[in-house]
Every structure is written in structure tokens, then in C-alpha cells.
């Protein structure tokens, strides 16, 4: 393609986005747009897949049959979300196989938040409530994004996340209304998840590499700091309404702006955890590898039955 053609295509592409139209598979798009989306959707997919693990661990120990069924359904949703997102990334030319290989090799990034341990039952409630609220704030923003298949996947996922938040909140309420020990357990979980959850929205705008262009092409429609603030404004009153504390003495409403002030998390910790050096990164990847190996016989049996093993996917979603 000549430089002139490239310029015209780019102008057309940006005009389409400015009009609020979606980009669909097969449309011309700048390589950087494609590349950024594959990176982002891939990381998002991996986060859903790895995100099954911290809570999945509690399925055998859930208190009561109803909470056990609920947790199984929630973890199954995360697996489903991962598959939806891998499909969305595939419409841009990535393959599910190479994305999974990257994850299993420990080369792929995914959300920082799933690399922290879940030592108590309260963690399951607090993940559903805090972490999934932060996820929904982010994903509702992404549902407004310019790439059709990703935006469609986000709408479906947000619908299911509403259930995740409610079941988490319900579990925390039970503890908050319970014995002093149960209350302390809920508070301890809020204390441990607060900063990792604030980090989920990504590095602050002033050091985020991708924000400016991502906003212009509507890969994102709000910046990391905007998403983080929206989450804080939403969750702080909920935490306090349950009689629990936000583990930040600076956290107070700012009358001038109408938003809550809060202490920023340690960005070096975010960097370390995302780059593989969090408390549970090695454990998570090892668990994914084991799941992949343990499931191999099923894939092989299905492939043998149908007489086909590998074939690449055309672009549709």
C-alpha cells in the first residue's frame, strides 16, 4: 500500500471512530490499533482464565450448598469470559493457540490482582464485591470502545459480572453481620485487597504508555485514573455502609471536586506483580499448565472422534 493510500485509509478510519461507529473484522485498521487490541484483549482473556484460580480453590470449602453452587457458577463464568475474549482477539488475526502458549510459557501479562493469595473465605466475598466492581467499571467503559467484537463481548460479560458482584456482596454482608471473628475476617480481607484492586485500573495516566492513542482510537474511552476514581467513588460508601473501614486514613470526600481523595497504591509493586514477580505468579502458571496437561486426553479424544485436529479460524465473531 502506498503512503498516500495509507494516509487516506487512516483518515477514513479515524473519521469512522469520531462518528461513533464501530470497527469490524475485515475493516482496514492501522497495524498499531490491531496490535494494541490483540495485546489488550489477550491480557484480558488471560486474566479471566487465571482469575478462576484464587476463588476456585474455595469451591470444596464453601460454607453451605448454595454458596458452593454459586461459586462454581461464578468460576464457570470466568472460563466462559476467557473463551469469549480469545475469540474476540482471534478476529484480529491472533490465534487462541499462540495466546495460550504464551500464557503457559509465563510470557503473557494478565491482571495484577489474581497474583495475590486467598487464605480465607472472606477473600471470595471481597473478590466478588471489590475486584468485580472494579472490573465492571472498567468493562462498562470498554463496552463503549470502537472495536465491535470486543465491545459485544464486554456487554455480555458485564451482564454476568452483575451476578458476581451481588454474590460477593452477599457473602461479605453475612460476615459483617456475624460474630466479631467473622467481622474481623471481612475487614482483614478488605485491607489486603484494597490496594491490589486500586492497581487493577493500571498505572497512573502520567506514566501510562498507551493511554493517549488508546483514547483517540477509542480502544479505551476513559483513562486509568478516571476509571480508578469512578471505582473509589462507588465502593467507599458501600464499604462504610457495612461498618467496615477503608484501610486509608486519607480517604475522604473532597467537597471541591465531589470525589473521594485516596492514597495512591505503590506503582512499583504493580510493575513487579504484572511482570511476574507477585506472591502467586508461579503458582498460577503452574496450575494452568497442569490443567492444560490434564485436559489433553479429552482434546485428543474429541479430535480423534471427529478426525480433525488443527485448522485455523477465519475472521468472524
Amino acid at each position: 500500500m502506498s503512503e498516500q493510500d495509507e494516509k487516506e485509509h487512516l483518515a477514513e478510519f479515524e473519521a469512522r471512530i469520531a462518528r461513533g461507529e464501530k470497527v469490524e473484522p475485515g475493516d482496514w485498521m492501522p497495524e498499531e490499533y490491531r496490535h494494541n487490541l490483540i495485546r489488550m484483549i489477550g491480557q484480558h482473556a488471560h486474566s479471566e482464565i487465571v482469575g478462576q484460580l484464587p476463588e476456585g480453590k474455595w469451591i470444596p470449602f464453601a460454607p453451605g450448598f448454595r454458596r458452593k453452587l454459586t461459586l462454581i457458577a461464578k468460576v464457570q463464568d470466568e472460563a466462559g469470559h476467557g473463551q469469549l475474549l480469545y475469540r474476540a482477539a482471534e478476529t484480529l488475526g491472533a490465534t487462541r493457540q499462540e495466546m495460550i502458549e504464551e500464557l503457559l510459557a509465563g510470557k503473557a501479562k494478565y491482571s495484577n490482582v489474581f497474583n495475590y493469595p486467598t487464605p480465607t473465605w472472606a477473600d471470595v466475598g471481597v473478590i466478588g464485591w471489590l475486584v468485580d466492581t472494579a472490573a465492571v467499571v472498567n468493562q462498562s467503559m470498554l463496552a463503549q470502545g470502537s472495536y465491535g467484537p470486543y465491545a459485544r463481548a464486554m456487554r455480555r460479560i458485564c451482564y454476568e459480572e452483575a451476578f458476581h458482584i451481588k454474590q460477593g456482596y452477599d457473602a461479605v454482608v453475612a460476615l459483617a453481620k456475624g460474630t466479631p471473628e467473622q467481622r474481623a475476617m471481612a475487614q482483614d480481607a478488605v485491607n489486603r485487597w484494597w490496594y491490589p484492586t486500586l492497581m487493577m485500573s493500571g498505572p497512573p495516566d502520567k506514566i501510562s504508555e498507551h493511554t493517549e492513542r488508546a483514547m483517540r482510537w477509542r480502544i479505551k474511552t476513559k483513562t486509568n485514573d478516571q476509571v480508578r476514581q469512578e471505582f473509589v467513588d462507588l465502593i467507599v460508601p458501600q464499604i462504610r455502609a457495612l461498618g467496615l473501614d477503608v484501610p486509608d486514613a486519607e480517604c475522604a470526600p473532597d467537597k471541591a471536586t465531589g470525589h473521594y481523595q485516596f492514597t495512591r497504591p505503590d506503582w512499583n509493586e504493580l510493575k513487579r506483580v504484572v511482570n511476574g514477580d507477585g506472591p502467586c505468579n508461579a503458582e498460577r502458571i503452574a496450575a494452568r499448565r497442569k490443567a492444560h496437561d490434564d485436559g489433553r486426553w479429552v482434546r485428543e479424544a474429541l479430535a480423534a472422534k471427529s478426525g480433525q485436529s488443527t485448522k485455523t479460524a477465519p475472521l468472524l465473531a
Binding site: 469490524e24 475485515g26 475493516d27 482496514w28 457458577a73 464457570q76 463464568d77 466462559g80 473463551q83 469469549l84 475469540r87 482471534e90 490465534t95 487462541r96 493457540q97 495460550i100 502458549e101 503457559l104 459485544r152 463481548a153 455480555r156 454476568e160 489433553r296 482434546r299 485428543e300 474429541l302 479430535a303 472422534k305 471427529s306 480433525q308 485436529s309 488443527t310 485448522k311 485455523t312 479460524a313 477465519p314 468472524l316 465473531a317
Partner: protein
């Protein structure tokens, strides 16, 4: 590792008899029967569903978004539109 990239099937979902089958997404599967099971697990976990179709993605022939002329109407077709007539609404 060459064991995960099965071909894809587009999934169409009917929420109740009388409604149209609606495209809801796609799944990887080794054959159409397994695709139906994956489609059920992926797209009918909660909402009511009475029928699912799966179609091999590669069997779908589609128009190209770039080829807008395919849909352009060269002459005025407004006479096909009920709103362009002066007849009363109750007709």
C-alpha cells in the same frame, strides 16, 4: 502443542419459539455435535433458550464492509416505503 486450535462454529440462539435465531458468538470445536454442547455451555448458561444452531464459520459467505456500493440504491426506492404514502395510519 498442536492440540487446541479447532475450527470455529458460529452460534445462533433462539430464546423462545416464534423469535428469530440470533447470532450470539462463536466457539471452537472439533465437530458440529461438540460445537452444540460448547454453545450451550457458553451461551445458554442462564437465559432461556429453546434452540441453538451452529454453522461452520468457513461455510458462511459474507459481504465486505468496504463494498458499500453493494447496498447502494441507484434509483429512488421511496415508493417501497409505507411512510411515503398519505394514507391514514389505521390502514
Amino acid at each position: 502443542m498442536t492440540d487446541t486450535q479447532w475450527e470455529t462454529y458460529e452460534v445462533f440462539h433462539q430464546s423462545k419459539r416464534g423469535e428469530a435465531h440470533e447470532h450470539v458468538g462463536s466457539v471452537h470445536a472439533p465437530d458440529a455435535q461438540v460445537a452444540l454442547q460448547y454453545a450451550r455451555d457458553q451461551f445458554a448458561r442462564r437465559l432461556k433458550c429453546v434452540s441453538i444452531w451452529v454453522v461452520r464459520t468457513s461455510d458462511i459467505t459474507a459481504t465486505d464492509y468496504q463494498d458499500e456500493s453493494f447496498f447502494s440504491q441507484s434509483t429512488d426506492k421511496s415508493y417501497r416505503d409505507p411512510k411515503t404514502f398519505g394514507a391514514p395510519d389505521h390502514l
